[in-house]
Amino acid sequence: MTDDEIKTMVLRELKNIAPEFESEIDPALDLREQIDLDSMDMLNLVIAIHEATGVDIPEADYPQMSSLNGCVSYLRSRMK
């Protein structure tokens, strides 16, 4: 997957989890704070990403996925 594809995929899953969030997502900022995600939402996001990419993300790596940019670089490194 290219970075753009990863980004599109993450945004799509975020949209499923938080459909009522309509503003632009700032890729550098914390997702949980921007979209008001709780730990259940975060888990659902990780599951959705796992289903889309096959990457099994250990709990210890969640902090690396706090922003959209973080998700992209983390997933890129894991998919190599």
Binding site: F21, I35, S39, I47, H50, I57
Partner: protein
């Protein structure tokens, strides 16, 4: 119309999933109802045969209204629609749930309308999809001509009718069961997206309605319930270590959240101290047999729902996690079941996500206790003469002083604390 929570006053039938002649068994979902707070799948409380349906699709009725008649298994089969029976002689009436419901004001029971000729089914023949379209397009169903089997109205019929110039309604009454208002569809606001499992994006109106019902329930709680409050800080190091070790072994789809442990410990403690688990009804405390824990789930667009997970005290954490995930998903989509909304015997609210340490809860009537958990924080902790840093959580109890005293409340929180020290046994 069952009272789906202490705060509900009216409900609208969005969908009938049964028709006269259908066999139903306890727990089956027979209808979908829209309340101010959510779209709710109504489960039936008796097994039997559906005799007659009284409230048509799209109609808004007060709680307590008879929705349908179900002949229970033991009863003699009366020929359907033989003669109108007086209300008092009605066999058992279908809906609702086992929970005592003092909140529900006794409302007028609508007398069954005179029975219809047996050849005419007591419901509009229309698919749920077509019903939704009709509501969306504000089509008066009484003037739609059905082209489906047995004159059933299809989505295409509805769409065709919406494009047709608005003719005066035909003088002849529709063959459909008559609602007091002319075919109710246009008047009703239905979150159609919900039924298509699309996310429910709350409209301003819906948000305002939800605010109103929360206001009514909470005002009633503060007016009537003499709350007392207790709190204690709990060592979570064992629970968190156990959870981390578990999650390391598990595939992502089977991971647990710590709130599952908190909810389970609360349920077991409620079994030990039964004064926390039940309802204050008619001036007396009625303990509940089962422990159904209401889990407060906030909606991002504002508002709050605390649907129940049933029999938590008897479920393994894995099972509770599956239930919780499913529940959060359906809350976000605005689709719940009647028993989930009405059955909670105690409520847990966990505001740790927002970063608060301590929750001072308001009891959801007619329940008698609400347990709050704050954020998990690392604290300096002295134990066995040693000082260390440990993850901790503050557990609080808001309890009804009519039903219990502080001593019992204290034992209850102590039980939660003790249970969380042995997470592997939860």
């Amino acid at each position: 119309m069952p009272a789906l929570g202490a705060d509900m006053e009216v409900g609208t039938i969005l969908e009938w999933l049964v028709k006269p002649g259908d066999a139903v068994k306890r727990g089956d979902i027979v209808a979908v109802v829209d309340t101010e707070k959510a779209t709710v799948e109504v489960e039936v409380f008796e097994s039997g045969i559906v005799q007659q349906i009284f409230v048509p699709l799209g109609e808004k009725v007060p709680i307590g209204t008879v929705l349908a008649l179900i002949r229970t298994d033991g009863e003699i089969a009366a020929p359907p629609a033989a003669k109108p029976e007086p209300v008092a002689a009605l066999p058992k009436i279908a809906p609702v749930s086992t929970t005592p419901r003092p909140a529900a004001p006794t409302t007028v029971q609508r007398a069954p309308r005179p029975a219809m000729p047996p050849t005419v089914p007591g419901r509009l023949r229309i698919s749920p999809l077509a019903m939704r379209r009709a509501v969306e397009l504000k089509v008066d169903l009484s003037i739609v001509k059905g082209t489906g089997p047995h004159g059933a109205i299809s989505r295409a019929d509805v769409e065709k009718a919406s494009k047709a110039p608005k003719a005066a309604p035909p003088p002849a009454p529709s063959p459909v069961e008559k609602a007091p208002e002319p075919a109710a569809a246009p008047a009703v606001e239905v979150p159609s997206a919900v039924r298509e499992r699309k996310p429910a994006v709350a409209s301003e109106e819906r948000r305002a309605a939800m605010r109103k019902v929360i206001a009514a329930a909470m005002a009633r709680s503060k007016r009537e319930i003499p709350h007392y409050y207790l709190g204690t800080r709990i060592d979570m190091s064992r629970a968190m270590a156990w959870l981390q070790a578990q999650n390391l072994k598990r595939p992502v789809t089977e991971r647990l959240l710590y709130s599952v442990l908190l909810v389970k410990a609360t349920a077991l403690a409620a079994r030990e101290i039964p004064e926390m688990n039940g309802f204050w009804v008619d001036g007396a405390f009625k303990p509940a047999d089962a422990v159904h824990v209401g889990v407060a789930i906030s909606l991002r667009q504002g508002g709050l729902i605390a649907p129940a997970i049933h029999d938590i005290d008897r479920k393994r954490p894995d099972e509770i996690m599956v239930n919780l995930r499913d529940l959060v998903k359906r809350v976000r989509a605005g689709m719940l079941r009647s028993s989930e909304i009405a059955d909670a015997t105690i409520t847990v609210t966990s505001l740790g996500e927002e970063g608060v340490e301590t929750v001072f809860g308001i009891i959801y009537p007619p329940q008698v206790a609400l347990v709050g958990f704050g954020k998990i924080t690392e604290e300096v902790w002295a134990a066995d003469g040693m000082i260390g840093a440990k993850p901790t959580v503050v557990a609080t109890l808001a309890a009804d002083h009519r039903a219990s005293d502080g001593h019992r409340g204290g034992l209850f929180l102590a039980a939660i604390q003790r249970l969380l020290q042995e997470p592997e046994k939860l």
